[in-house]
Amino acid sequence: MQPEWMAPTSLEEALSLRAERGDEATVLAGGTFLGILMNQGFLSPSAFLSLGAVPELRTMEVVDGELRLGAMVTHRRVEREASDWPVLARAFGLVASPRVRNVATVGGVLADADYASDPPAMLAALEARAVLRSPRGDREVSVGELILGYYETCIEPDELLVEVRVPAQPEKATYRKFRSRSAEDRPCAAVAAVNDGDKLRVVVGAVAERPQDFPDLCAGEAAEIGARYAERIEPLSDSRGSAKYRRRVIAAEVRRAVEEVAWTPA
């Protein structure tokens, strides 16, 4: 049986279909994640709500020094056009291959809440906020509030993630993607670090169910911070590395990331 296909051409229409159909229709953005799940037989939706024809979701603009990325902005566009957010451009530019980055979207990568994606940790470290919209109104949530666990978010069945807002990037920021296999692989561990002069923010991605963010550990020497993150995080095991191995990588990569953002202990 052919699944039902809904392709609204305005945001208003998309929001009303979402409110009406809720989780019964699978929201489709770039399709890179859904495609894998469907090819593997893990998912066979009876209805799709495709956002591909909604022009309002493709805008990318800077408002009051804040980068606003429509949910359907592709990874490739962030990579090429977010020139004042070089570390964000770098994190999006390290995802898979150009073929994937040409279709994968900013909204999709957050709403999938796939633990092994690159952008969420970087967006979290930059204190980005996602705008969730429904007939009930808008709410803004941080990445930490948005991603609750493996493939699980706080998005309600009548809400759509419509935009991601990223504050100005401090100069001292880095994204380290550690791959244990191919250059096009997902990270075995990824470290996003931002030093805004007053405080250090370190978020570790791809090692547990959601980005690992521990402000209370971000003090002291780089090596100490790395050791503490490695101790605090309960890493998972997958084909990119065992939990034991990931602890080793976290310690080394957090240390390197902190060194790169030139954090000087108070």
């Binding site: 049986m1 090819n39 593997q40 296999r181 191919s182 096009e184 692989d185 084909s239 080394a252 990569e253």
Partner: protein
Amino acid sequence: MDPRVTADLRYSVEVERPGMLHAAFVRSEVPHARVTVVEPPDLPDDVVLLTPEDVADLGLYGCQVKDQRVLADTARHVGDVVAAVAAPTRAAARAAAKSIEVAYKDLPAVTDPLAAVAPGAPLLHAQAAASAKDAVSIDVRPIPGTNVCHRFRIRHGDVAAGFADAEVVVEEVYRTAGAAHAPMEPHAALAEWEDGKLTVWSGTQTPFNTRADLAGAFGIDPERIRIIAPPMGGSFGAKTFVRLEALVAALARKAGRPVKAVLDRAEEFVTLNRHPAIVRVRLGAKRDGTLVAKEVDCWVDTGAYADCGPGVATKMGYAGVGPYRIPHVRVDSLAIYTNLPPNGAYRGYGAMQSVWASERTMDLLARELDMSPLELRRRNLLRDGDVFATGEVMHDVHFDDCLQAAADAVDYEADPRGKGLCVLLKGMQTPSRAAISVERTPVGFVVRSASCEMGQDVRQSIKLMGAELLGCEPGQIEIPDPDTDTSPFDTRTTSSRSTYMMGRALREAVADLERDGERGFGEVRNEGGLDPDTGQGIASTHWHQGAAAARVTVDEDTGRLTVEHVHAAVYAGRVVNRAGAELQNEGSMLMGLGTTLFEAVEFADGQVTNANLSDYNVPAFGDLPRLTHELIEREGAEVHGLGETALPPIPPAIGNALATLGAHVTELPITAERVLEALER
């Protein structure tokens, strides 16, 4: 313009016939069980369901051991095909396949080759009968009452005496993971019956072997079966012997219409993979580095069906001896059934797994002897006139030249730190035969050959050789797709044999044409083969020879290995199609790199857990190191096959380079995690 570039080449996956139906397969969800297929009451009228009862009249098939039913009534691996459907569209077929219920009566399963040969292991096959149709000429030696479908031995000299005489002995056990061939084009086949005659269009490297095996299964004369082999979008060994052909033929027989099947990517991972293997090597030498004795034991996991596992175990066995003069050699190599998807031919055909073990052990020995690994190899390499462990006298061998070229490419002698070497010997299918025909046409010539096109551009090589022999332009030679009704017999397109064998047959055919004026026929045979009980005989009438060198660095905090440079030197004798030959080297090296660094088919309870190209990594452009290679030629030399030679030496060259930095890794792939563990051992 190359038709592959202009999209004018019609691949196997694109073949269509009027009125054809599309197939989909119902696959076992458990590794070992008796199955009952239940037809759903609401199956649409235009869907044809094929159950094990429908194929009960058909015989067993299998290229080396007849151990496979067209549909499994006992499922022996997750993904084993237990029923099939045909429907007017691919989507309808897939929906129908999903609706079929299968009842399982579980049987004990074994998914590890060592456990499978332990006493009391569950048996996969009641008896392992050798192929009566002799699709592949190999004497199979099953061990009755066990999961061993073939064991190959070499007995050369007196190994006990040899080790008694040795002053230094090293020993190690090595493992290699299974790998996916991952051709861009998946398996595709279409079958059609007309007046009791079966025609199958299939992307296959083995049209004549497939015909013979189908004839046995369907109980009909091979002359009533026609196999047409359109070009493949890659194969690397995956499309050898009967894969989908028997299934689509049985579906078409029941449907009374042509039936076509094309696999999806996940199905590829349960159809045929590379043999995971465990190889133990014990090597003894005199203090001066002279090798005196070697023992090689291989446990070769062939999965649920033998396929060509016996041949792979044989080749793994003798390739594990290495290109060295060793007076006392014992090899025992077992092809073992397990409840995993079948494993079969994969570029390098078993050589990689044992070359990895053998060449890593050479470096262990060099270290024990405090001798340069290059010097240790040089001292023992086979040269013309030397006797190999199979008893055959070596001729036309150039291992020295290959090894030296590889060493020079990385400046090995100046500073061996972070660098590694490997030299290998690899055999060609022996015995085998190849025939070809040439016909004059008003505008040129038609050459008929069963050499199959899979991206290696064999047709271009034949055209270039033909143009030289016939005194015409390559463009004046037309080569139709292999067709068992019109192409002369060829054993198969494997083991890097086509340019060498077909080239020689073509010379005969052109001489015949000159006599006849209109048409000519040429055939060559290479005779030989090994006694599976002693490993004595002729392993190969023609040796593939090569070497590789690698330079690596390692991140000691994470174990992440960076291959900085890899070089392969392959003996070509005489190059026929330079662009094609260079691409063979590059392609082999790339696959070798994937095997070295990250390719592994992973399983949980017999189920593949990374059956997609996101979780299963193949090398990407970003993974390429500096990659250089050379084709070694000699004035007046014979053409040498080179389609696979540069693959097996890559993992040991990298592994040996890594060992100089303090990490002795014995298992492939060399993951960052394994490097870190090895650094800290």
